[in-house]
Amino acid sequence: MQYNAVRVESYMLKALSRSIKSVRLEIGDWRGYALGIVLVALATLLGRLLVNLFAPANIMMFYLIGVTVTAITFGLIPSITASLFSVLAFDFFLVPPYFTFDVEDTQYVVTFVALFVVGVVISYLTMRIRQQTEISIRREHETATLYSLSRSLTITTGLDKTLQTIIQGARETFGRDTVILLPDGAGGTLKPYVETSDSAMNEEELTVICQSLQHQTMSGQGTAVISETGATCVPLKTSRGSVGIMVLKGLKPPKPWNQEQMQLMEVFADLAALVIEHNQLVEEARNAQILEATEKLQAALLSSISHDLRTPLVSVIGVLSSLQEEGINLDDASKSKLIQVAREQAEYLNHIITNLLDVSRVEAGVVKISRQFSDVQDLVGAALEQMSSRIRGRPVTVEIPIELPFISVDFGLIVQTLVNVLDNALKYSPDDSPIDIKGWQIGNEVNIEIADRGIGIPPADISHVFDKFYRLQRPNNIPGTGLGLYICKGIIEAHGGNIAARNRPGGGTIISIILPISAPIEGRKVL
């Protein structure tokens, strides 16, 4: 607020200095002088007609009316000139002896001086009134502009819209193409905030921009730096340094700025700078938060992973060392049992590593979906085939109608999703319980459900089963990383589908996968 007060004061100082300047400089145009002369001539004519009826002091009033009119219409210098002419004409035509500048009665000198002084005073006062009016009108306009801008700013949110409002406001206020240049990424190059047809800069404008950036001052038209160019640049300054630059492009033919516009320009630049700085601060705060969350996650990941990775390795190394150890005598049955344990654990290790790689791929967005029209039966079959050693004697039912349409999906990724879901179903249900797989069509989507008769999910946890690292708390002896369903969710959502979990009536879990069928392939059909 203090800053604003200073701004207003400096504005008034400048306005004052401008009014003093204009006392000296307002020569006005020729019409002012012409009007003055015509009015003086009229007053003289009227005076001549009435010279015998009116006293000269009253006739003088005609001249004063002429001077006043000139002052009101054309300003100080023309009206002072008119005053001078009035004195001369009065003397020549209306003070005896007529038609000569000689004066019979010396008291008329006082009349002449009074006429001239009164004329000048009227001229000056009229000029002041004129100026005050002008300033008021400009002030009102400025206030109206800022008011409407601030009103549009209060209803806009986000850097994008706010900057656009400012650019739009500047465009309307100054009648010029306005471009805000902001640093683009790390390269340090400036780029137009909104790329439009008129955001391209010509050589001249670039020179002004460079100057403005170098000296961090307003440059171009209306300033002390490269004032001969059409464009004007205002650096966007904040407490933390310059954040960009506002460019008001030149007009053809060139049109000079007035003081008020220069002031407004700075106000616009300040606003834009404030908005950008605010946005930067918000973003920094958010980044700091994300970083913190990521670090926490990384820590959780590390502790979870190092535990999960080491556990199977402990058995593998243990088994191998006992097989190598000479003092330990193992019969063939024990040996083969140990080897079986080591192998299972090594395979589990492979499973964890695969999941970890998939998570990083899903999260980094590098999973590329290469869609192919795939038979749901084939998808389920491939998943069952991959899990065949785990399924062994389990009763598995598959109900997929022959008429179910092919779906456009990435075959490998969907098989992997089904494998992950099947893996959970097998893990969290008794060894002889059935797994039921169903597929059917709903509108433009296909629903695939995998149901088990396992322990189910506590209702409070249903919404979390797809979260990263989420694991059912109850069965402590079941190994897992809490990544499988998280990966599934990533894959299914990347396909524009949806995956959900619910408890099965009568016990168990149902995982439901909904995938869009998408438009059939067009082209040749040779069947």
Binding site: S374, D375, E385, V398, I400
Partner: protein, 227 residues
């Protein structure tokens, strides 16, 4: 099984050692190369019976090695690849590789693939009747029977089955199958292939969701399983 030479082209010493021990224990003579260039010259000099080729080599990429080998030899090539590199896998298979294994893999799986590859390479192609499980295909009479019952197939379904039978046990990429059955100009019409495979399965598989004959290699292609 003696006197069969297997060339391993892999830059990982640990994997070569595991393969060397496993294969030597099976009676194979093992040749090793740690780079694509070494592999190419050893293959030319020693004429191995099977080549096991890692796709991620330090000097030339495995797909290129496959292409260069296929310029002069039909020696079966089994690709070793990591998960997620389906594109390279398909490129290598299209370039003429016979089969692939995704790391990590078990010894049993590897030995089975080697045996299948060897069998294919010595198989006389004019064997008219092919039998796997309950499925019997008489290529000379264009007759397909399942448990003795004749199966009616469309020309395209039969064409597919014929290509699969001629390459029994081998992974055939989607593109390869389309080229063989429909022609080169249908190389991208995957929909056509999947629909026909589905229909074929319904006719010859007892449970199409758990096929025993036509196996899906996710994202890569299909394989006819020899039972």
């Amino acid at each position: 099984m003696t006197d069969l030479k297997i060339l391993i082209i892999d830059d990982e010493e640990a994997i070569r050692r595991f393969l060397r021990v496993t294969l030597a224990a099976q009676g194979y003579t093992v040749l090793e190369a740690a780079s694509g260039n070494d592999g190419l010259s050893i293959a030319a000099a020693q004429k191995p019976d099977v080549i096991i080729l890692d796709l991620g080599l330090p000097d030339i990429d495995g797909v290129m090695v496959t292409r260069m080998l296929r310029e002069w030899t039909r020696i079966p090539i089994i690709i070793l690849s990591v998960r997620g590199s389906e594109k390279d896998k398909i490129a290598a298979l299209d370039a003429g590789a016979d089969d692939y294994l995704t790391k990590p893999f078990g010894a049993g799986e590897l030995l089975a693939r080697i045996r299948a590859a060897l069998r294919r390479s010595v198989q006389t192609p004019n064997e008219p009747v092919f039998v796997t499980g309950n499925l019997e295909i008489d290529l000379a009479r264009r007759l397909v029977t399942l448990s003795g019952q004749e199966v009616q197939l469309t020309p395209n379904e039969y064409g597919l089955l014929r290509v699969l039978v001629n390459n029994a046990g081998k992974v055939l990429t989607h593109r390869h199958l389309l080229h063989e059955v429909w022609g080169v100009e249908y190389g991208e019409e995957f929909h056509l292939l999947h629909v026909n495979i589905s229909n074929l399965r319904r006719k010859i598989e007892s449970d199409p969701t758990r096929p025993q004959y036509i196996i899906t290699e996710p994202g890569v292609g299909y394989r006819l399983k020899e039972i």
